[in-house]
Structures are given as C-alpha cells and as structure tokens.
C-alpha cells in the first residue's frame, strides 16, 4: 500500500472509531432528556457525556477525517505522493495523544465543560492540554497542505492547481484561521488558569476568542462535503462539473466570509454592545452566498449528468440520475438537510429572531441537522468512494450502503425536526433532566420521545456504517479503478493568479478580521472583567488545593 494511502486510511479509521461510541453517547443523551426511563439517570454523567460527544464529534472526528481526506486528495489530485509524510505521521501521533488526553480527562470526570469550554467553568489542564495538542497538532497538516500545493505550483508553472487540491488547501487555511481563536484562548487564558499560573479568567474575552473559532469551524467541517460536491459527485453521477471557476470562487468566499462573522454566536452575551452585534448580524448574511452558489452549481452539474443519461423535459433529468450510487444518493439527502438547516440558520443569524431561539433546543437541533446530517452523510459517501480506492478492496454491498445512508437521513430528520419544535416551545439546551410533571414541560414530552426514536435509528445507521467498512476491509483485494475527479464542462487552461492561490485572500481576510474583531477584542484590555473560575475538576474552587487530609 502506498504510504499516502496508509496515512489517509489510518486517519479515517481513527475518525470512525471515535464516531461510533460518540453516537452511542448521543443516543443515550436523547434518552435521559426524555420522559422515558434511562439507564444511569445521573445529570453529572449527562454533562460528562455531552462534553465527550461534542469533543469527539466537533474536534476529533472532523479533524481526523479532514486530515485523512486532505492526504488522499493531495496524492490523487496532484498525481504524486504526499510530500512530508514523516511530518504527517508526527502530526497524526500528536493529534492522537491529544485526543487520548482529552478523553481521559472527561472520563475521569474532570472536564464537564462541554466542547465549547464555557469559562469561567474550568476543567482539568489535561483536557485543555489534549485539546491544544489536537488542534495545534493539526496545524502541521495545514502547513503540509500549503506546502504540497505550492511545491506543485513551482513544478508546474502556469498550470491551474486542480480544483480538489485548491479546495483542500482552502480548507486547511480556513482551519488555521478558525483555530487561531481557540488556540489563543487555550494558551492565553484557559491553560494558564488550569495550571494555576493565574488566578482569574476573563470569561468575556475567552468567549469572544472562541467565537472566532465557533462559526468558521462549522465551515471547516462542511468543506470536505463541499469538495465532494464539486469534485467527486459529478463524476459519480456520470456528468461534468458545471463550472470550475465557480468552485474556486466558492471556496475563496468560504475563507473570507466565514471567519469574521463568529460574533453572531454572542448575540445574548453581555460583553458586547448592541451596535456591534447588529453589524455582525449583517456581515453574517454573506456566508449564505457560497452555499447558494454551490447549490446552484451542484444542481446544474447534476442536470448535466441527468441529461447526458437521457433525461428529458423540465425535471426528467432527476429520475435519470444514478441514485443507486452512494455518492449521488448522499448528495440528494444532504441537500435536503442543508436546505432545511440553512433556513434555520438564517433565523439564528437574524439579530432579532435570534433572541427567540438563543440557547434553546432549536440551536442544538440546527447544528445536528447541518453538521450531523448534511455534512456527516457526505463523510459517509466520501468513505464509500475512497475506501475501495485506498485499500483496493471494493464495498461488499452497495445496497447496504444505501440502507445506511437512508437510515441516517431518516434518523436525523426524525430526531431533529421535533427537536427544533421543542426549542421553539422554549426548551433550553444543555439541560440533563426535565421535570415532565410540570405542565409547561409536559407538552414537549411526546416530541422528545420522537427524537429519541430518531436517535436510535441514527445509532443503527452508525453501526451499519462500521459493519460496511469492516466488511470491505476484510474482503478480498480486487483491482479498483483509480479515483477520478470530475472534469469541468470547460476545463481551465489557465486561471488568474488570484484564483490559483490564497495570498490575496489571506490579506483581505486579515483586514476583515481587524475590522470585525478589533474593537470587540480590544475592549477587554480596557474593561476590568476578570472573575474567579469555577473548577469542575475538583472541590477546591476557592483557595489553592485544600483537600481533606
């Protein structure tokens, strides 16, 4: 097996090995929140579980998946082995150690602060250290992606970087920008306090820094799915990509629009003025642009494929598409969830409408629909597409894969639609047990039970995923056609320098970041807003380590 393939495979396996237990936790969390009896109804276990579920899904699964996908794309799209394989393995080990540290701290009960940290809650330094190693370690991957792209450009002067490589480098750059917030928060605020080097925490500053990460990270999760939309789907559907330039523009827009807008996660936070929030609300509208562009070009690409397969009439191309292909099926299901979740997102970003749903179950349901649904289903499809290419062992049964995708879609819809509704009814998020004997809460009971059923279906689907992948891995080796990326209708001969690199866009983003975050972060150097921390890791939240003898 080629070294870059092994690299990708190991990353995928870590991602999916973490994914399954995290889904189990999620299903249990659904149960304990519901009126149904749950094994282990202990709120503390719930918060530890939410922390583990969130940390696993938001940081571990996604980062490992994106890194593995990045290596696979680099090797296949550039048509040469990944450069810097040794550094890539070091990166893998660092990220794995970080993951184990964080997981150990949560399991030991010293880190129930949820994956968004919520200072002045304070967890064990093992948790923050683990998160830092995982996120900081992945910066090696960022550098490797940029290095691979620039060295290819040097070796092939004047030729456009393949769209897949361009997009994965955009993902890496986006991740670097996104992670800057949480890394500064960890290194500057949380780690020093948890190690006892400082005595107080500036919760407002920490939350503002985290907001830099909090929205862009969503697009980091989303990017592999979008790369599949642009470069894998048209090929799988038997057609061509509608426009290569539009793809490049989309990924550039993701970089410059998704990072400076994270402050809309702070609409209910007191440390920022209303004017600044309102301004950010407007800026946030821009992130809809690349998604709308994508929906247009993907539908156009699918139409090209459908018509090439003999579809006629206004909508006749839709049934003509090869829906039996996991990639095509997953895209269809993903677009449905992206549509529903996207409209929910418009409500979240509206300054006034946000106050209706802020901190309710609506928000949790929204990001499950978008990330757990639209994005993760594409991760599955990517795995089904790439696994045979990497291992040389084809999927045992495409029918089983289709079942798995349909179940995931159905489970996510059944879980998250009632979840949205209970949010509108006023159910708060991040609450372990509800008093269903209270008439206000009781009317949410049936809806929550429906969500539990959805959660169970998701669990079945997740188990099925692992079964499919393991069966493929254990199966016999057969020759597979190498991975082919979709050709554009008009394949680019040359592209302008601005669409073949990122220097200009990084500069523009820097200006935007200073504009968007300069004052909100700067104000904390004037405000005296530090407070003592609340340690969740131990009883001694007051004065240095007095434990009973």
């Amino acid at each position: 097996m080629q070294n870059s393939s092994r690299l990708a495979l190991y990353h995928y396996w870590v991602a999916f090995a973490v994914f399954l237990p995290a889904v189990v936790l999620g299903a249990w969390q659904m149960l304990i929140r519901s009126p149904l009896p749950a094994p282990l109804d202990d709120p503390d276990a719930y918060y530890a579980s939410v922390t583990l579920h969130g940390t696993a899904m938001a940081y571990v699964v996604t980062t490992f998946f994106a890194m593995g996908f990045g290596y696979a794309v680099t090797a296949t799209s550039l048509g040469r082995p990944v450069r810097g394989v040794a550094a890539a393995w070091i990166c893998f080990v660092i990220c794995l150690i970080g993951t184990l540290m964080a997981v150990a701290a949560v399991l030991a009960g010293h880190a129930s602060v949820l994956y968004t940290f919520y200072p002045p809650l304070l967890a064990s330094s093992w948790y923050y250290g683990g998160a830092f190693l995982l996120i900081g370690g992945s910066m090696i991957w960022v550098v490797l992606m940029i290095y691979n792209m620039t060295s290819w450009k040097r070796d092939n002067p004047g030729r456009p970087v393949p769209l897949a490589m361009f997009a994965i480098t955009a993902t890496a750059i986006l991740w670097a920008w996104a992670a800057s917030g949480v890394i500064v928060e960890l290194v500057g605020i949380l780690l020093p306090r948890s190690l006892g080097l400082t005595t107080e925490i500036d919760a407002g500053l920490a939350r503002t820094l985290f907001s830099v990460t909090l929205h862009a990270i969503v697009y980091f999760w989303l990017m592999p799915a979008y790369i599949a939309f642009y470069t894998l789907l048209p090929q799988a559907a038997g057609g061509r990509l509608y426009s290569d330039t539009m793809g490049r523009l989309t990924f550039i827009m993701f970089i410059i629009f998704s990072v400076p807008v994270g402050m809309h996660h702070l609409f209910a936070d007191p440390e920022h003025g209303a004017g600044m929030k309102f301004l950010q609300s407007f800026l946030t509208f821009f992130v809809a642009l690349p998604t709308l562009l994508t929906v247009f070009s993907i539908c156009a690409s699918l139409e090209i494929a459908g018509r090439a397969r003999g579809g006629r009439g206004l909508l006749g191309w839709i049934p003509a598409l090869p829906w039996g292909e996991p990639m095509v099926l997953a895209t269809g299901l993903s677009l449905v969830m992206l549509g529903l979740g996207g409209f929910g997102g418009l409500i979240n970003m509206g300054y006034a409408m946000n106050s209706m749903i802020h901190n309710t179950s609506w928000v949790t349901a929204h990001f499950h629909m978008i990330f757990g649904g639209a994005v993760v289903i594409m991760y599955f499809a990517i795995a089904y597409e790439m696994w045979p290419r990497i291992t040389g062992k084809p999927l045992q049964s495409k029918a089983l894969a289709r079942w798995q995708l349909w179940l995931w879609f159905a489970g996510m819809m059944i879980a998250s639609i009632p979840w949205h509704i209970t949010g509108l009814m006023g159910q708060p998020r991040r609450v372990a047990v509800f008093d269903y004997s209270d008439p206000f809460v009781a009317r949410m009971g049936p809806l929550v039970i429906i969500s539990v059923i959805g959660g169970a279906i998701l669990l079945v689907s997740a188990i099925l995923l692992i079964v499919i992948l393991v069966r493929s891995q254990l199966g016999e080796r057969r020759l597979e056609a190498p991975l082919r990326y979709a050709l554009a209708v008009n394949p680019p001969k040359t592209v302008p320098a601005a669409l073949n690199g990122f220097a200009l866009w990084n500069a523009i983003l820097l200006v935007l970041m200073v504009f968007a975050y300069g004052y909100p972060i700067g104000q904390f150097f004037i405000l005296k807003s530090k407070v003592p921390a609340y340690e969740v890791s131990g009883p001694t939240n007051s004065v240095g380590g007095v434990d009973g003898p």
Binding site: P37, D41, A274, G275, Q523, T540, S542
Partner: protein, 268 residues
C-alpha cells in the same frame, strides 16, 4: 456591495437601533454610538426613591479576598483555635450535634462566617462576640488550621462515579432534592453547591456535618433569622421546604458523611 452593506448596517446598528429605546428616552447620536459599542453613557440611575442598601455580607469573592484567605497561616491558626475547642471540639471535631464540625471545612467558608459574625450579618450570641475580637488575618489563620484537620468532615471529592437515581425520577424525596432539586418550586439541587460532587465558593460542604445543625440552619433561613446568604438563595430555598423535607435532607447529609456523630440524627 460588501461596503454598502457595512455602511447600511453600521448606520442602522449604531445610529438607529441604539438611539430609540423602547422604554427609555431617545439618545443623541454620540450617546447612541457609545451604547452601540457597549459603552453605556446613560449610567445615571432613574429618579426613584432608593431603599436603603442592605447587604447580607461584607464578603465578595474577589481576588483580594481569596488572596487573604490563601495567605492564612495554619500554625498561627492552631494557637487561635485553642479558643474554639471548648464548643467545636478537639481539632474542630464537634461532639455536640448543634455545633458544626469545622475540621476539614473549606477555609473560605470559615473566613466568611467569621466576618459575618464580626459585622453582625450573622447573629449567634457567643460567636458574634468572638467574631469581634478576631481580626481578618486571625480568621484566615484559624480557617487554614481547621481546613487541614483530620477526622472531621470527609475529604471532598469533586467527581463521583455516575449512579442511577440522581434525577427527578428518584422516588426518595431527600435524594431527589439533593441531586435534582425541584424545578417547579425553583429549588436547585443542594449538591450543586454543597456537594457531593459540586462545590461553590463560600458554600460549605455538608457531607458528614451534624444533621441537627443543618436542620436548624435550614429553619433559621426559612424564618429569616439567618440572613447572610449572599443572593438570598438559601432563604428562597429554605422557605419552600416543608419541615419533613428539611429533616430528610439534613439526615441525608448527616448520615452519609460517616462523621463521628452522624448517628445522632433522629431526635427532633
């Protein structure tokens, strides 16, 4: 287009949104911009009769307070503590069920209570007099001494193994109140601040404390005799507890701790 939207949203956000307040006077432009940035220019209070300020305690959990407590000298505290043993027992292990055990108590708690006695925020004859003769430094020292004494309150454990029945589904009312509270009455779980598991600054850990003492304090909070809880949370909670619930919760903590006289629960 980006620039246009920025201009429009800036004008709306800073010029209009901040300017016209639903329940307040319309601000001039400068003050509206300041408000939009989070700098409130209109800090003057409304002209209303202001009731006299009554604070339940003089202690605020600032860094200064915490530093003062952390600077407590246990050796010097041992000397001061010789005055306490007559009632609070040798080494702070009380043998009387109505007098709290101090051994192993968080120093911030002891420090705060001593200051409350000193300032008359907590009233209890003899302790008021003692509070007035010990300085802030003495309080910190004696708190540091008692905090490290053994055989009193059990060592605090922030984390405990998950266990079923720590939710609203628990049939035992004491356990339910301790771990899940009663949302319909606005009662948070005792354990969120007093352990086991959760501990908040200034709230004493109750495991192993004398049940009679705990029950008496709950009654005192309920009747408003004791008023030194910073945000009135103990008065709010205790007022809503029935006498049976107070007794059950106190017994839960007293019996659970394994402290010397934890058996002396029943008599009421």
């Amino acid at each position: 287009m980006v620039a246009l939207l920025v201009v429009v949203s800036t004008v709306l956000g800073f010029g209009v949104l901040s300017r016209y307040q639903q329940n307040g006077p319309t601000l001039d432009l400068w003050n509206a911009i300041c408000r939009g940035l989070g700098l409130s220019a209109d800090t003057a209070p409304a002209k209303e009769p202001v009731p006299a300020l009554r604070t339940p305690t003089r202690i605020a959990w600032t860094s200064n307070t915490l530093d003062q407590i952390a600077a407590g000298d246990a050796q010097r505290g041992a000397f001061i503590a010789m005055n306490c043993v007559a009632c609070h027992g040798q080494g702070g292990v009380s043998t009387s069920t109505l007098i709290p055990t101090l051994a192993g108590m968080d120093p911030a708690v002891i420090y705060k209570q001593l200051d409350d006695y000193r300032s008359g925020k907590r009233l209890w004859g003899v302790m008021g007099a003692i509070g007035k003769v010990v300085s802030a430094q003495d309080s910190a020292d004696v708190a540091a001494y008692f905090a490290v004494q053994s055989h009193g309150l059990p060592p605090l454990r922030g984390y405990r193994l998950p266990e079923s029945g720590r939710s609203l589904r628990e049939p035992d009312p004491a356990k339910r109140l301790v771990y899940a509270g009663d949302p319909q009455r606005g009662i948070p779980p005792c354990s969120a601040c007093h352990g086991p598991g959760g501990y908040k600054l200034g709230a004493p850990a109750l495991q192993g404390q004398h049940a009679d003492y705990i029950e008496r304090q709950l009654v005192a909070f309920a009747q408003g005799i004791r008023q030194n809880d910073i945000f009135e949370q103990m008065r709010m909670i205790a007022k809503q507890l029935t006498p049976d619930e107070m007794h059950a919760v106190a017994a839960f903590y007293g019996a659970r701790g394994g402290a010397p006289s934890a058996a002396g629960v029943a008599v009421r």
